[in-house]
């Protein structure tokens, strides 16, 4: 269930009962108003009746007072009669009270007129009594009595009408009261039923929603567990060593490969600071390397750690590793941990060392063969000359033969000292003449050059001295020129240009051939180990070793090719700095 739906449900649960209660309150208020109005009319009738009786009583009092005066002649009896003015006021009030009922008003007007007539009669009688007139006249008295009776009858009928009105009004009030109670009960019943049904519906709805939400949550949780299991299995199964830490650099996960590599098992490593378990130093300087967690946090990015890293295992033994570390981020991009991936490259380094040795041994073999060739030729001639001297009975040409033999021996000496000195090993870089190196290489490759009838031109400046390892530079140019010789056709051309540039700081040696060139599809893999296009005739080590040598000397190497079929050849460009870079001396001590 979405939060919006839940809010809507909650709102409905409150709004519907509230609205129903409002409706009921309105109905109750309306009915109470009706009842109050009905009771008001009853009160009104009561007032009319009471007022009518009061007026009637006043009139009767006036008549009684008149009779008393007429009999006794005493003025005191007239006192109530004087109050008839009050009766007039009562009349007008009564008239106001019954203003809603025209019939009653008409009756009152008639009564008032009759009363006023009786008042004239009463004054006449008072006057007669005071003037000793005939106030006992029967007819006159009867007339007065008749007038009074009519007034009384009038009041009686007014009261009677009002009484009837009152009765009907009470009945109406009672009816309203009954209706009110009935509708209240009905409404309450409807309200209660509605509320119960509505609540039941809503609760049912809510329960269903809750159930579905619960099921969804359970599914998500199961999926999460599965996913977690999936990742954990994945990380545990990969061949690379993986260690994860929290934001503080405490280990939260270590896979079996990492256990093997570090010598720490999961139980021991968990919650330990990374630096304690992953103790790394620089392979060249043996100085401590910045903690990967700190490095990642500082750079706030994936960090390939320093090359030539040595991991010191728990038991103190060392392995070479390649590693990288990456931050684990939360939704806001904050670093909540670091994941470290590394692998033991000791075997790879050992293998590369072996491959380099292989290439050096191959070169050593070629040099040996070349030296053997250069020695055997003069040796053969000297042997033959000695044979001639020995067997020439005339001894006429002995001196000539001896001179020839001595020249041949000189040649042997030149070959051995010249060629072998180029291949001497040294522990530190020494000044090397590039021209000498190239000459030595060309002399060693003489057989192949001869066979191909190759046109090799070599141009170099007068001052061509660089600092380096002569044996390795010899190896470098042997590999490069050898490749060119393989690539060119019969009577092909190879041009070697050696120029200094960068204000004499660097040397640039280009070896250009007019051979079949390098296919663009091989360009990427050209300097990778064991990559060869020569089938069984190539080791796939030459360019890889050459690159290593150039980089060790602080230089760079690149290959370019016209690429189009029929276009002439390839160019290898080697840039070597005149001064050997100090920082790489420790890097790779000659291995062979």
């Amino acid at each position: 269930m979405t939060p919006e739906r839940f809010r809507k449900l909650l709102w409905l649960s409150l709004a519907v009962p509230t609205a129903l209660v409002f409706v009921m309150a309105w109905v109750v208020a309306f009915e109470v108003g009706q009842l109050r109005q009905a009771l008001g009319w009853v009160d009104h009738s009561d007032n009319v009746i009471a007022e009518s009786r009061a007026v009637e009583r006043g009139i009767v009092d006036a008549e009684t007072g008149l009779r008393g005066f007429l009999i006794t002649g005493k003025q005191e009896f007239l006192e109530p009669g004087r109050r008839t003015t009050l009766a007039a006021a009562h009349f007008s009030r009564l008239k106001e009270l019954v203003s809603d009922n025209p019939v009653q008003i008409q009756r009152l007007v008639t009564l008032l007129a009759e009363f006023q007539k009786w008042q004239s009669y009463a004054q006449e009688m008072i006057d007669l009594r005071e003037s000793q007139g005939d106030y006992t006249d029967f007819e006159r008295n009867l007339e007065g009595k008749r007038q009074m009776d009519e007034i009384r009858t009038g009041f009686g009928s007014i009261i009677q009408v009002e009484q009837a009105l009152r009765d009907s009004r009470i009945q109406r009030a009672n009816q309203l009261d009954y209706d009110f109670k009935l509708s209240l009960a009905g409404l309450s019943l409807v309200l209660a039923t509605t509320l119960v049904l509505f609540s039941r519906y809503q609760l049912h709805n809510l329960a269903e929603q809750y159930d579905s939400a619960l099921r969804t949550a359970e599914n998500i949780a199961a999926l999460e567990r599965q996913r977690k299991q999936w990742f954990v299995t994945l990380l545990r199964s990969v061949g690379d060593a993986v260690i994860a830490t929290d934001a503080e650099g405490l280990i939260t996960f270590i896979n079996p490969a990492a256990e093997t590599a570090t010598g720490w098992n999961d139980e021991e490593a968990r919650s330990q600071p990374l630096a304690k378990v992953f103790h790394v130093i620089n392979a060249d300087t043996r100085e401590a390397i910045e903690d990967p967690v700190h490095k990642v946090r500082r750079m706030n990015a994936v960090a390939g750690l320093a090359n030539h890293t040595i991991l010191i295992r728990k038991d103190g033994s060392e392995i070479n590793i390649n590693d990288s570390a990456a931050p684990i981020r939360d939704d806001n991009g904050g670093i909540i941990g670091v994941i470290l991936v590394f692998r033991d490259v000791s075997r790879q380094i050992e293998l590369e060392r072996t491959l380099r040795t292989t290439d050096r041994l191959a070169l050593a073999g070629r040099i040996t063969a070349s030296v053997a060739h250069e020695i055997h030729n003069p040796l053969d001639t000297v042997g033959n000359l000695l044979y001639l001297i020995k067997n020439d009975a005339s001894h006429l040409r002995t001196a000539e033969y001896a001179e020839l033999a001595s020249q041949e021996l000189k040649r042997v000496n030149q070959v051995t000292t010249g060629m072998l000195s180029l291949y001497r090993e040294s522990q530190a870089p020494v000044p090397v003449s590039l021209t000498d190196v190239l000459k030595g290489v060309l002399s060693m490759l003489e057989m192949q050059i001869k066979k191909k009838e190759a046109q090799v031109t070599c141009n170099s400046p007068q001052d061509d001295t660089v600092e380096g390892f002569p044996g390795e530079l010899h190896q470098l140019f042997t590999n490069l020129i050898d490749n060119a010789l393989d690539a060119i056709p019969q009577r092909g051309q190879i041009t070697i240009e050696c120029t200094s540039y960068h204000a004499q700081k660097d040397f640039c040696v280009t070896i250009t051939d007019n051979g079949y060139g390098i296919s663009s599809k091989y360009m990427d893999r050209l300097f990778q180990p064991l990559f060869t296009t020569k089938g069984e005739n190539g080791t796939g080590l030459g360019l890889w070793v050459s690159k290593g040598i150039v980089e060790k000397h602080g230089g760079s190497i690149e290959a370019t090719s016209a690429g189009a079929p029929g276009e002439s050849g390839a160019t290898i460009t080697v840039v070597l700095p005149r001064r050997f870079p100090v920082h790489t001396i420790l890097d790779k001590v000659p291995t062979a």
């Binding site: 030729n377 001639t381 066979k451």
Partner: protein, 134 residues
């Protein structure tokens, strides 16, 4: 040695000697002539093929490293012309490729005593004659 020297020139076996080193070739030719052979010299493979066809050659003494054609190629070309003529590869290299050594009757390394070279030539000549007469 004396018996060699006293042989009639008509019976001196002819050696075709091929090498691109002029001094070494010249000295070797003198040594062989002194040892009782008639010697024809050439500096490279094509010359060797020409001389082989133009002359009555009994044995070929080939260098391996030469411009244009190496000794192995020359030997195979000679075999096509005459498969029975003995060929000796005389090389400065200690080990030669299998296809080269199998193309010739004998492989020798330069620098061996001249007497041994002469003996080797005589031995292949003897074999050749035996084969030829068989």
């Amino acid at each position: 040695m004396m018996s060699v020297d006293t042989r009639d020139s008509q019976h001196r076996p002819t050696v075709l000697c091929i090498d691109d080193e002029p001094v070494g070739l010249m000295v070797r030719a003198k040594m062989l002539e002194m040892s009782g052979f008639s010697v024809i010299t050439g500096a490279d493979g094509p010359t060797a093929l020409e001389l082989f066809q133009a002359n009555e050659v009994d044995v070929v003494l080939l260098d391996y490293v030469m411009p244009r054609m190496d000794g192995g190629e020359v030997a195979r070309a000679l075999r096509l012309i005459n498969p029975k003529k003995p060929i000796i590869m005389l090389s400065a290299y200690i080990s030669l490729p299998e296809e080269v050594s199998s193309a010739v009757d004998l492989c020798l390394v330069k620098g061996l005593p001249p007497e041994e070279l002469v003996a080797a030539i005589r031995s292949v000549l003897g074999n050749g004659r035996t084969e030829g007469t068989a």
